[in-house]
């Protein structure tokens, strides 16, 4: 029997070791132990979350590929498909923000072109501690430059994302990256090692000692010595990735390329066993054929290296030369390292001599599932109190404070460091609710967004899960697109803690209820646990990545007000709630209260109304009301449209009226001649709408029960919204 300390090194439990000996009928050797350790880590095996994830609705008339492949696929008509996936790179970014984030971008892109799709857009969902700390600034600017470095160089526009700051992310920032691609339906490649006797070829970068144990690194909490876990940090080579994209997409078009699989966490081990397991085959590879960057690498190191920018191809026997030619054009090597077998085993050799042999399926599915306890977190008793603050300062001052706060002000400083226009497809640029890219050669467009209100998830995981989906969908709908698919990234603390596991279960339940009700399937996703340090745990943060389809891109709509004299109308309830709001968190430093409840039927109707009004050209602008409430939403319409606003809200509480939050609300602007049509539509759908003002030239004036509470020149509103983040960062 093996020492427990050695098992720990591989991240395996005694029970798991037992299981391995049963599977093999013998003790595993060191290489095999390493392979199981990596594949059975939470990051690769989902042993803690599998059962919960089954809850997601994953089918629908457009779904071609749900969870289980490198990325999800949905039909968008005209023989085209959209391919999408989101992934976390939290721990690497905490240790080395620039390279951690950069390699996160590289990894998610490979998942998309592995399926034969050309990556068309990236989104990044980021969360950090409070910006006044130098270390947070360092992490934040490092992550942003890492994404900029990699994404810009590979030539995929980063068109959207989110940035949120709260002290809970101080030690453990979140870096989630989503990629969306489009392919001809017939060009889709699955990562299956089919056809006994076919060749397994490795392409891209040579293999070094970098990133060994990356999977297990991502599967434990950050601690004092995380910084010393050097090998887990890899350096990305976006230039190589760009060549790899072009060469792989060229190869994918060929019939003799049967399958494509990226090398991500657990490197060659994971690529081989996943491709073989999916096809029910085996693989016999010789690691001495693997191009190596460093000398004297052991089989263990080669099998577990997480060197970036590598792909595995399954090639019809006899066509290896053809494949090599395609890669040579791009100055890349394509090397045959083995063959597909029918024995279901992953056999690893070194110069012909067997160094490991394990059943492929046992690596991907054999892990003993872990049943986690769950119990309602005790903090919920404390936070579920209703907080009555009242406004104790001049509302205009509060408004400006909020508008210039890190979470609400424009993220221009971030997205202007990203090339968001390469590809000449970006029709709605970052800064709006959802980005819209066009699909050349068609009249279609795709809307994209990522969303999650993690404070809601913290204060009410079920409600938070629902609202993450609803908010994402609302962001899609205001552009005129119909939501068609979800990819999710579940960021949580240590699932071994029953209170954390409760958050996981509840959030997933909430997401599932909303996704089901709104009819949007979950087609791919990623789980990231252990996001905590000894000092703090993150808010539960299930990020929802969503795409929507515009059949006719000319029927799109944007956030900004358009013309003087247009009528500004609120779809939905006027009164918001300050509980669990950003206003309460930022201005009053209170993270408590019950998030406003969402009525999914009401939500669905509002979305349908908005979609119709946009598509039929009834409204000229549409913007969803979220963090910061109505006052902030109106300011955004003004800033983005470079127009003023004059209006009045009749309501009970001043702070709830201005800054209160509540789901199912959308601000639209309508030309007076279309007002009747909008009223009719709303009546038909039984939605309450309220006229709250008009678009005007250059002031933002807002009254509450007919007395003016905000009256500011547009230029000042623009300046505070657009430049506050940059000022905060450059202030030393």
């Amino acid at each position: 029997m093996i020492a427990e300390t050695e098992l720990k090194l591989h991240g395996l439990s005694t029970e798991e070791y037992q299981r391995i000996t049963e599977i093999l009928g013998r003790d595993p050797n060191n290489v095999e132990l390493g392979m199981y350790g990596a594949m059975w880590s939470e990051h690769c095996s989902y042993k803690n979350s599998k059962r919960v994830l089954k809850r997601f609705p994953t089918t629908g008339k457009r779904v071609i590929q749900g969870p289980g492949e490198n990325a999800g696929i949905v039909d968008i008509g005209d023989n085209l498909v959209a391919v999408l996936k989101i992934e976390s790179h939290n721990h690497p970014s905490a240790v080395e923000p620039f390279q951690g984030a950069a390699t996160g971008v590289g990894g998610i892109i490979r998942d998309i072109f592995a399926m034969g799709a050309r990556p068309l857009a990236l989104l990044d969902s980021l969360r950090f501690g409070e910006l006044d700390e130098p270390r947070v600034k360092y992490l934040f600017s490092g992550v942003v430059s890492g994404i900029s470095h990699y994404g810009n160089c590979v030539g995929i526009p980063t068109v959207g994302g989110e940035v949120y700051f709260d002290s809970c992310y101080r030690d453990n920032p979140l870096v989630n990256v989503m990629c969306v691609g489009v392919a001809n339906k017939k060009d889709i490649k699955l990562a299956k090692a089919v056809g006994v006797g076919n060749s397994v070829m490795l392409v891209g970068s040579s293999t070094g000692r970098d990133g060994i144990h990356g999977a297990s690194f991502a599967s434990e909490e950050l601690s004092e010595d995380s910084e010393s876990k050097r090998p887990s940090v890899q350096v990305g080579d976006p230039f190589m990735e760009k060549l790899l994209i072009e060469a792989c997409l060229e190869a994918s078009k060929k019939d003799f390329v049967l399958g494509v699989q990226d090398l991500g966490a657990a490197g060659l081990t994971s690529a081989c066993c996943e491709a073989a397991a999916r096809a029910g085959t085996g693989m016999d590879i010789d690691i001495s054929l693997v191009p190596q960057r460093e000398e004297d690498m052991s089989p263990y190191e080669i099998m577990l290296s997480e060197s970036q920018e590598r792909m595995l191809l399954i090639v019809k026997r006899g066509y290896e030369e053809e494949v090599s030619k395609i890669f040579a054009k791009w100055d890349l090597h394509a090397v045959k390292i083995g063959t597909v077998t029918n024995d279901g085993m992953i056999t690893v050799r070194k110069e012909g001599v067997k160094v490991a042999q394990v059943p492929a399926k046992s690596l991907t599915e054999g892990v003993p599932e872990v049943k986690r306890e769950s119990s309602q977190p005790s903090y919920l008793k404390k936070t579920a109190v209703s907080v009555n603050t009242g406004i104790n300062e001049n509302p205009e001052k509060i408004f400006l404070k909020l508008l210039g706060s890190p979470n609400l002000s424009s993220k221009r400083w971030v997205f202007e460091q990203y090339d968001h226009r390469v590809g000449t497809n970006t029709v709605v640029k970052p800064g709006s609710d959802a980005a819209v890219i066009r699909i050349k050669g068609t009249s279609k467009g795709i809307a994209l967004t990522t969303d999650c209100n993690s404070l809601y998830c913290y204060l009410d995981p079920l409600e938070g899960g629902k609202q993450a989906v609803a908010e994402a969908a609302r962001n899609i709908v205001v552009t005129g697109a119909e939501p068609i698919a979800i990819t999710d990234c579940l960021n949580f603390g240590n699932p071994e803690d029953p209170e954390i596991f409760y958050q996981v279960e509840q959030c997933v339940e909430g997401i599932s209820q909303a996704a089901e009700f709104l009819g949007i399937p979950v087609v791919s996703g990623n789980v990231s646990f252990y996001n905590e340090s000894p000092q703090r745990t993150i808010f539960p943060t299930p990020v929802i990545g969503m795409i929507g389809l515009l059949e006719n891109i000319n029927e799109r709509c944007e956030t900004g007000f358009k013309d003087n004299g247009d009528i500004v109308v609120l779809l939905g309830e006027v009164q918001g709630s300050t509980e669990a709001s950003e206003y309460l968190r930022y201005i009053h430093d209170v993270k408590a209260g019950k998030p406003p409840k969402i009525n999914l039927l009401q939500e669905k109707k509002i979305q349908q109304l908005c979609l119709r009004a946009v598509r039929e050209g009834v409204v000229k602008s549409a913007h969803d009301v979220s963090l910061g409430g109505l006052a902030v939403a109106l300011a955004e319409c003004c800033v983005i449209g470079k127009k003023g606003f004059k209006g009045n809200i009749n309501c009970k509480n001043l702070d709830a009226a201005l800054f209160g939050e509540s789901p199912s609300r959308i601000v639209v602007s309508v030309s007076p001649k279309n007002m009747e049509t909008l009223k009719l539509l709303a009546e038909q759908m039984q939605i309450r709408i309220t006229v709250i003002g008009t678009v005007c030239e250059s002031r933002m004036t807002l009254a509450f029960n007919s007395s003016v509470v905000i009256d500011l020149p547009l230029d000042e509103v623009i300046d505070v919204y657009e430049n506050s983040l940059e000022r905060r960062i450059s202030a030393q």
């Binding site: 070094g208 910084e227 050097r230 890899q234 350096v235 080579d237 190589m240 960057r293 460093e294």
Partner: protein, 83 residues
Amino acid sequence: MKVKVEVFFKEGVLDPQGKTVKNALQHLGYDEVDDVRVGKVFTLSLKTSDREAARKRVAQMCEKLLSNPVVETYSIDTVEETR
């Protein structure tokens, strides 16, 4: 006092620049080039006259700012008194 600091990626860490420059040189006919590593070099002019103290302070600067110990190593190359 002038101090020169060099910062390179650690051994074993991929150096994409070095690799690309090596390929370019080989393409240009410099076949004798076996390997290239690319690093950064800083020349710091300091208002100090104490050599040893300077070296210590610069080592701190390297740890804190000039290099990223997670992926890079630094070396303090020369310490030169300015005339």
